[in-house]
């Protein structure tokens, strides 16, 4: 079994884990439903746990934003809500039960977090508020939630996109609930955003990075088996020259071994059947 080829999830987990540095604080929420839960919670958690076991022993995991360094190996099924009674009993190092609490998000205590949006645009803005006109929307969504804080106060943000289609990756979002790089890093500064912003975007088809000077998203790596034409067709903004874009690297055998044996032996996070 452990010689199987890496799955898409495993590839993303490992790529993400490699970008996490020792001593950081990572914040993840919880979400419900297959792909959404996988990208919003399971992949981030598995990546953090993998980083911790390989090169970042001092990483702090902030599960659901309030459960610090949970003993993830004690979870049988992935919890599907952030204030579930069962999470309260999960052994961990600290619980943040009041706000403001043990971390000072406005001081920049959080090194990285994970967001998703129904729309993401070419400069990395996020939208979870509405599709269409704000006053008479075609679809009213849930609202900005914690996105504005994620995209302003966290030192960097990973955008997790369970779906990669033209309707998700648009030239301009219909409502900016999380601010990307309009005008690049200088543009953010002018807006009063001294740090933070999206760093990478993980999708089922590629990983995006950012040209932070000009503020535009660019393809960082393409997943094996995805053609550049298919990627262009699935994306609502111009991707520029894709000639030199490398393939998303595969996990090393060692990483896969730690991931499968120690991080997620029961396949709860990767959805891998055991």
């Amino acid at each position: 079994m452990n010689n199987d080829k890496a799955s898409l999830s495993e590839m993303l987990i490992v790529a993400l884990a490699r970008t996490i540095r020792d001593g950081e604080v990572g914040f993840t929420g919880l979400a419900t439903g297959g792909a959404a839960a996988l990208y919003a919670a399971a992949i981030p958690l598995a990546a953090m746990q993998l980083a911790r076991l390989t090169h970042a022993p001092n990483l702090t995991i902030l599960l659901s934003g309030w459960c610090l360094n949970p003993q993830l190996e004690r979870i049988d099924i992935m919890p599907d809500s952030e204030f579930d009674e069962s999470l309260h009993d999960l052994p961990c190092e600290a619980q943040m039960l009041a706000y403001p609490g043990q971390y000072a998000h406005k001081r920049g205590d959080i090194d990285f977090g994970f967001s998703s949006g129904v729309q993401v645009d070419a400069v990395g803005n996020l939208n979870s508020v509405c599709i269409g006109d704000y006053r008479r929307p075609k679809v009213r969504l849930v609202g900005p939630i914690l996105q504005p804080e994620h995209m302003a106060f966290f030192q960097r943000e990973y955008i997790m996109a369970p779906h990669h289609d033209r309707r998700n990756f648009v030239e301009r979002v219909d409502y900016i609930s999380g601010v990307g790089y309009p005008g690049g890093v200088a543009g953010r500064k002018e807006l009063g955003l001294d740090w933070g912003g999206p760093e990478l975007v993980f999708t089922p088809k590629c990983i995006f990075g950012f040209d932070k000077e000009h503020g535009r998203m660019r393809v960082h790596t393409i997943h094996p088996g995805v053609s550049t034409e298919h990627l262009r067709e699935s994306t609502g903004f111009d991707l520029g020259d894709l000639a030199d874009v490398p393939e998303t690297p595969l996990p090393s055998p060692e990483e896969l071994e730690v991931l499968r044996r120690e991080v997620d032996p029961r396949g709860m996070l990767t959805g891998r059947r055991v």
Partner: protein, 316 residues
């Protein structure tokens, strides 16, 4: 010695403290621990043009939206988490029948802190570039008086009435919040300190001796409470942490019915309009449904005070 005044009050009278057009905040968070029995009573009384100011709302706002009670909502989230979008709310907003003002989540909490501290605004540093600003004329840019930094003044939540649901209280209005709490319970505490009129519905009224025994858990002292109402299962179908679980089947019935206005009117007929009061609601839901929802109790009850509606008869 003169007698201390009881603040115990029937649900009906408590709901009358919320007038048409009032600005209210509702305890709980998303789909957790809302004072649902109280909201049902508001719907039954036909309240109109309410503004709800909140942090993260769910079936509380969706119910009031579907029953036509709302004019405006200020929040960071209106949704039903694993049960999907809040369909009544969504329909009303898409039809232009309900105004929604979007705020970031922790800033929404800060707005209640501003009210708790009587601040005329809350200073935020991080709104630049977001459409929060574009659609909200109540927020004003200003320079930091000390550093010149660009900041935004955000209006306080300023609820006229706050209603929360808790496990225990006494007749004078003291309310305990168990040490076994999570952020939603802490938010209720902030809410309770942000207003002049505070209504608390509780699962159970206890003797003040019990309050004294657990004084370190008394987060809402009597003087802050306007009235207190005993409403067992008062958050159903939401869970109460340390008391009972979500009624998953009821939530599915609720969301199923809310696909259309007509479907939701049927739901309201079944559980609100066609029902006399909360005791009748519990009969309609059925103890055979409720009892299995019980969890370990944060405050183990004295057996004599356990709520058995079929034995006590009168409605709270």
């Amino acid at each position: 010695m003169p007698e201390r005044t009881s603040k115990l009050c029937p649900l009906r009278d408590a709901a009358e403290l919320v007038k048409d057009g009032a600005r209210i905040a509702i305890g709980g968070f998303a789909i957790y621990q809302h004072p649902m029995a109280f909201l049902h009573e508001l719907v039954r009384q036909g309240r109109r043009d309410l503004t709800v100011v909140g942090v993260a709302n769910g079936n509380d706002v969706d119910l009031l939206a579907g029953a036509g009670c709302l004019k405006r909502v200020e929040s960071s989230y209106v949704g039903l988490e694993k049960y999907g979008l809040a369909r009544n709310f969504r329909r009303k907003v898409e039809n232009g029948e309900l105004e929604i003002v979007d705020y970031p989540e922790l800033l929404s909490w800060d707005r209640f802190r501003a009210s708790q501290e009587n601040m005329t605004f809350w200073p935020a540093s991080f709104l630049g570039g977001s459409d929060i600003l574009r659609y909200n004329p109540d927020i004003k840019e200003f320079p930091c008086p000390l550093t010149g930094r660009r900041l935004w003044a955000v209006p306080p939540a300023a609820p006229e009435v706050v209603v929360i649901h808790a496990i225990l209280g006494d007749t004078y209005g003291n309310v305990l919040v168990p040490s076994r709490r999570l952020l939603p319970q802490s938010l209720d505490i902030t809410l309770s300190r942000s207003c002049d009129t505070l209504i608390v519905t509780v699962e159970r009224i206890v003797d003040t001796d019990e309050i004294v025994r657990l004084a370190h858990l008394n987060e809402i002292p009597a003087f802050r409470t306007t009235c207190i109402v005993e409403v067992p299962w008062g958050a159903h179908p939401c869970p109460v942490l340390g008391h009972y679980r979500t009624d998953d089947a009821h939530f599915r019935e609720y969301t199923g019915s809310s696909h259309t206005d007509e479907g939701f009117q049927d739901y309201l007929e079944r559980y609100v309009y066609g029902i006399r009061d909360h005791a009748a609601y519990l009969e309609a839901v059925g103890m055979e449904t409720l009892t299995p929802l019980k969890t370990g109790d944060a405050f183990p009850a004295e057996p004599s005070r356990q709520y058995l509606p079929d034995k006590r008869g009168a409605a709270p």
